[in-house]
């Protein structure tokens, strides 16, 4: 590249902003950084992580997320254009598979989405409500007499994991084998002394996934694994690595995010007891908007990386093919041009067209699961431990929020109560039997009835 090319390029890559999401500084200063960028440079170039654009305003995010010349592709083996998928920086750990359909463009992405839609649609998820409520009941019953609970370890980590395994067709009692490494992989930095141990746990989980695939291939049982194994594209099965990637996406996408949303919301409600009481009293009209408001404010999945697949012009910027882009759902969610008082949690907020499940064709396919599981957990806590108080001393937020804006621990105390049923292990045995007998994991096209829990 000549000196002239470099200078022209430098002039084009403006304005500049030093943007590093993977620091605790970013977490602490998130609102200030957002205000600054939205005011001065809603689209900016950052030299961090090999250099990438950042879209920080709702308008830029809305346009770029829907732009047909912006690619999600992760070209692992350099067979296409070498694009690096949705992680900035490119994750070292997960290099054998790409992140399922989230790292595919259409038409490939569409094949997988069409396959999974009947398992995850609003109608499909609604059938699981009695099952979800029962897991929540058992998780709370484990702690209800003690008067102490950790909302992350004892509730928010448990329920999404159990439900996801049920939907996959994997035995429920293995939930911890999946839950632990999935969360740890998010909050453990790559250079941490724990990284090796976490990688090993992750590998064990991966092996169990592969074994489950082989088992279900031999002895089919309903669920997402079965659907992926039976998928045919022009008569050919989906490649095993893509199936693994999709399973990784469902697990990775579904566990930590719902946990993060629930933990942050319960913490906030504890800090605002009058709002908590109001939500409980008026839940018939407030639960839905409050859920959307917590999604907006806490944006568990804060953004995604993209690659420009063509030259694009937007808002006075010229983007070149191959350039990387960070689309910030979290910052768009705080844009005052869309959300008045953006940094306030308003449980009855109107016009809440938040970005937390993404925008465009890659809208989170688990969104209906997330909402349903969240509402079940929160209403149960409001009913069974309405006076809970979170303990700030033991509360642990993720140090950095570059990947998921999550929490590790949220201990709380409450006025003890009585269990209303069996504990978690016994309940999981019962639910496994019910799952198998009623074939709950079938798609909505094959089974319309809600789960019947005795």
């Amino acid at each position: 590249m000549s000196v002239d090319d470099t200078t022209a390029d430098d002039e084009r890559k403006q304005p500049r902003y030093h943007f590093d999401r993977h620091t605790s500084d970013y977490r602490m200063r998130f609102e200030k950084i957002t205000e600054e960028m939205q005011e001065k440079c809603p689209i900016a170039w950052s030299d961090t992580y090999g250099g990438h654009w950042v879209a920080a305003s709702s308008e830029a995010v809305f346009e770029l997320a829907r732009c047909p010349h912006v690619s999600n592709d992760h070209d692992l083996r350099g067979e296409r254009r070498g694009y690096k998928g949705i992680s900035i920086p490119t994750a070292q750990r997960i290099s054998a598979t790409r992140g399922g359909m989230l790292e595919m463009d259409d038409p490939e992405h569409r094949w997988y989405r069409n396959l999974l839609n009947p398992y995850l649609s609003p109608a499909a998820v609604k059938r699981w409500e009695p099952f979800i409520d029962e897991v929540v009941r058992a998780a709370l019953d484990e702690k209800i007499e003690e008067g102490r609970i950790d909302f992350v370890d004892d509730l928010a980590n448990v329920v999404p994991a159990v439900l996801t395994l049920a939907m996959l067709g994997i035995p429920l009692k293995r939930w911890e084998m999946y839950s632990e490494p999935t969360h740890a992989a998010v909050y453990t930095p790559e250079h941490s002394p724990d990284a090796a141990r976490v990688a090993e746990q992750h590998k064990q989980m991966g092996l169990d996934l592969v074994n489950s695939m082989l088992e279900i291939r031999e002895n089919p049982r309903p669920g997402l694994v079965n659907a992926l194994l039976n998928m045919r594209i022009d008569g050919e099965p989906a490649p095993d690595l893509e199936i693994m990637g999709m399973l990784g996406l469902v697990i990775g996408g579904g566990f930590d995010t719902t946990t993060a949303l629930t933990a942050h919301s319960l913490e906030w409600l504890s800090q605002h007891p009058d709002q908590r009481d109001r939500l409980s009293r008026e839940r018939d009209i407030l639960l839905d908007p409050a859920t959307e408001e917590f999604l907006r404010f806490f944006t568990p999945a804060p953004g995604d990386g993209r690659t420009f697949s063509d030259e694009v012009d937007l808002e006075g910027h010229h983007f070149n093919e191959g350039e990387r882009l960070w689309i910030s759902w979290a910052m768009a969610n705080r844009d005052p041009s869309v959300f008045h008082d953006p940094n306030q949690v308003l449980l009855d907020r109107k016009g809440n067209r938040h970005f937390s499940f993404g925008i465009g064709v890659h809208r989170c396919i688990g969104s209906n699961v997330a909402r349903t599981v969240f509402k079940s957990m929160v209403t149960a806590v409001l009913d069974r431990m309405p006076d809970y108080q979170c303990d700030p001393e033991g509360t642990v937020h993720y140090d950095t929020i570059g990947v998921i804006q999550g929490m590790r621990h949220l201990p709380a105390t409450f006025t003890p109560g009585r269990p209303t049923g069996p504990g978690l292990d016994e309940t999981l045995d019962k639910l496994q039997r019910i799952c198998d007998e009623q074939e709950l994991a079938r798609p909505i096209t094959e089974r319309k009835e809600a789960a019947k829990i005795d």
Partner: protein, 65 residues
């Protein structure tokens, strides 16, 4: 008032059905939305407006009379 959901834009966020359940029906298969009737009854107008403002994809098109 008339209302229509742009099927190209709709991605199944489901906010419209939460806000105006009598005016928007969701596909069992993928949660995509369509208007129950094109002409909006007067007692549903405010809810339909709110639904349109709440659609993350801006996929709901309203024609005010």
């Amino acid at each position: 008032m008339k209302v229509r959901v742009d099927q190209e834009r709709c991605q199944g966020h489901t906010l419209c059905a939460m806000i105006a359940p009598e005016m928007f029906q969701l596909s069992d298969i993928d949660g995509s939305s369509s208007a129950v009737t094109e002409v909006v009854p007067s007692d549903q107008e405010d809810l339909v407006r709110e639904a349109a403002h709440s659609c993350p994809e801006q996929a709901i098109l309203i024609e005010e009379d």
